[in-house]
Symmetry: C2
Subunit: 497 residues, 2 copies
Amino acid sequence: MATPTKGLVSRRQAVGAAILSPLLPAGAQAATPAPPLVMTRDALLAGLRATLDQDGILTGDAIGKRYLTRKQDDKPLAVLRPRNAAEVSAIMKLCSTARQPVVPQGGMTGLVGGGVAHRNELVISSERMNVIDGVNTADRTMTVGAGVTLKDAQDRAATLGFMVPLDFGIRKIATIGGMVSTNAGGEEVVRYGMTRESVLGLEVVLADGTIVTSLNQLIKNNAGYDLKHLFIGTEGTLGLVTRAVLRLRRRQDGAATALVAIDKPDGVPELLRHLEEELGGALTKFEIMWADYDAFVRKYCPDLKSPLGPGHTYYLVTDAVGNDAEFERERLKKVLARAKKSGVIVNAAIAKDEAERRSFWALREEAGAKFSEMGPFFGYDVSLSLADMPAFGARIKREITAALPAAQVLILGHVGDGNMHLVVAPGTPAEEAHHKCNEIIYGAIRELHGSVSAEHGIGTEKKDYLAWSRSPEEIVLMRTLKQTLDPLGILNPGKVL
Amino acid sequence: MATPTKGLVSRRQAVGAAILSPLLPAGAQAATPAPPLVMTRDALLAGLRATLDQDGILTGDAIGKRYLTRKQDDKPLAVLRPRNAAEVSAIMKLCSTARQPVVPQGGMTGLVGGGVAHRNELVISSERMNVIDGVNTADRTMTVGAGVTLKDAQDRAATLGFMVPLDFGIRKIATIGGMVSTNAGGEEVVRYGMTRESVLGLEVVLADGTIVTSLNQLIKNNAGYDLKHLFIGTEGTLGLVTRAVLRLRRRQDGAATALVAIDKPDGVPELLRHLEEELGGALTKFEIMWADYDAFVRKYCPDLKSPLGPGHTYYLVTDAVGNDAEFERERLKKVLARAKKSGVIVNAAIAKDEAERRSFWALREEAGAKFSEMGPFFGYDVSLSLADMPAFGARIKREITAALPAAQVLILGHVGDGNMHLVVAPGTPAEEAHHKCNEIIYGAIRELHGSVSAEHGIGTEKKDYLAWSRSPEEIVLMRTLKQTLDPLGILNPGKVL
């Protein structure tokens, strides 16, 4: 391969330049792997200081823990805290000139290392892009800055009789920008889908600083390619989300909750079928806990009282939501009575009021704070066919305890969506055990054509296993997109691919 | 710009080649606009005949009307009828070597010229890829060939207690591949979303013949970029869909239908709010007809009897679906009685049985066959804020009748989704009037930040107006994707962009 030549521009080069020039600064197309800095680091930092206000850039000791992951022993070069897309654009213009890698950060609640930034990298934090622009009540949409937390968005929607159709435990810290970038899931996916399904429009800054304003408010818009999907779930590797338009749903306050015990393996899909048939769109949550998880809760969370006896194969928590709680309770009671009579389930309890609803959900949600009682542990987030789940759970437990006799395995999941979470405490030094557990769990997922990431993403943690869930052709196509949108490789490098 | 040079490969070129080579045949990267054929047309046709079986290629008189649009006065070079992705791949390998443009065709029910193929183009028809591979009842998915009709998919799902959550009138002809490629909408979008929301996985053939098998069956899969969105709604310009995995929903048979008359402009959003609050997930359709549409139906479809009197500003048909029709009817009756009492609506009728339900829907659906009674007419498919609809409808009618005094304007739409359809019969020679109507309607949509295409797509018909709904940066990004995935410009050229 010859070195770049001046004056001798081939047709192929000219075409490439013509395609990319509106998106990239002159001369930027050629570089991968990134060539040496064309701007000194000091000049870059000076440029950034001139671009941002005093609170817009943190370095050294001013970089607090919120920008670091637990395992990390270094700090990023600086943390940038832009207030809007124009400032992000100015940052990216400087960084693309300087070939400076950047790492976008939201609430840092991710579980796969998607936001980790090392000493040669700049953090772009969304924390000051935390303004809710407004709610369009006629079209049921809300436009928010990337740094708005899920909780703040939920609260604003609720004051107007709406709901953000996304929810999970860490709602006070997780940001909308992070949720968009990771296509976050949660407990309401069975009814409303992933974050992707609730995003109508985005404002995004590309690697070269181009601002793509695509803040669509319309539910239906087939005018050309739907570009937002390039940025949803791509973990900041193709562009930086600065604002989002969310689709809201009308709030309904009549929720009923049931706790169900099941012993037979196909009881879970059978019950799901019954509930889908009877409740239709009122079925909003369908969460499962394996026996070991229930046993763990009984042992480590003695304040939580289950109305059901111990020792059943599966425990389920499910919600039906409409505008009349009493009606939803009665309907749920009828369906479950029939399921019990026909032997699909062993037993069920319906929460009599809001306080009991919360106590049922606590059985599912509050054990997380106690996992460390088992020592170091690893979390998994996989997806597979509902039909394969019982055998998969049994196999994982068998293989892990064979390999690591002191290990404990807790299993739970959003089963209505085929999503299982596994918590493995190896009971031995963690590093070596982690690799072994990965091989056992992801190996089984690979055989079953499941996904190594149902909702958490790939980040850095699961990169080695991406090819276990995706074909070579898919990965080539992902790389092609990456190369097209980030030819310098400066957007969240080393993540996903 | 110099001519292509041999031996002098710059770094920039090398990078470009490295990126694209897995996707494209050697030497294919350079060409846009397409250079002259490197294979004669006769050699190409001979190659295609050797690749396909006897029924796989049609030329000359064998090319029937189904492959042509009404206005067309030429025929494509040939029609290819591959049976699977391997055959499509072989076709695309030949066509990319020959720089031969291809036009994918499904049921040819599109309304924007997305499937029109001229004399220098090859049609790739999906009609023989019409096999339903199977239904996964545990995960509620169905895998189908691109050529399977919506009706066939619906029927297969129904035999197993499921539904395909997509529906519209031309279901017997429209194909799943065409629906995926255009992100088709329909009457159930208010509940289940567009086609995009019901697609879990795709098998796609790229411009160079690479088969990307991404037949994901999982509801949740965040393992890397979600590539299917490159091919959904991009009208065959980025790749050819050969198979799809659809997400099914449990079938519920208890449907209630109401016909409602409304006079005050904000009665429509108010009623929608009431229904969303009361019915939640049971609300599946919410369709509006303006007064002129109702008058047209009374005049031209005398067999259809409306239970409501003439002359109201809006007529609505709405469905609530659950597992108990009687319950749904009673609930709908209660909501509408309250809405009438509070002055939101003027009057309402609830269909007492399935036959009456069908007769209410006929008022909305059967007038289409009579539009030509008004002479030549143009159809529009726009999207805008629900809050802007009343004023938009009045403005369009006023401006069109001012410009074309003999014109008739009928308006209807999927209002729950912000989607309006307009039917304009100019009453004058069509060509000139068409441009005038486009300018009036799309001009208003541009001012209101609406979309020139809610669900039909851009095709060839709306290309001139794409920039009225999308920003320059969005269009540059679309072009970048097109150039990346189809550098030779052979996939459905001249469509969308």
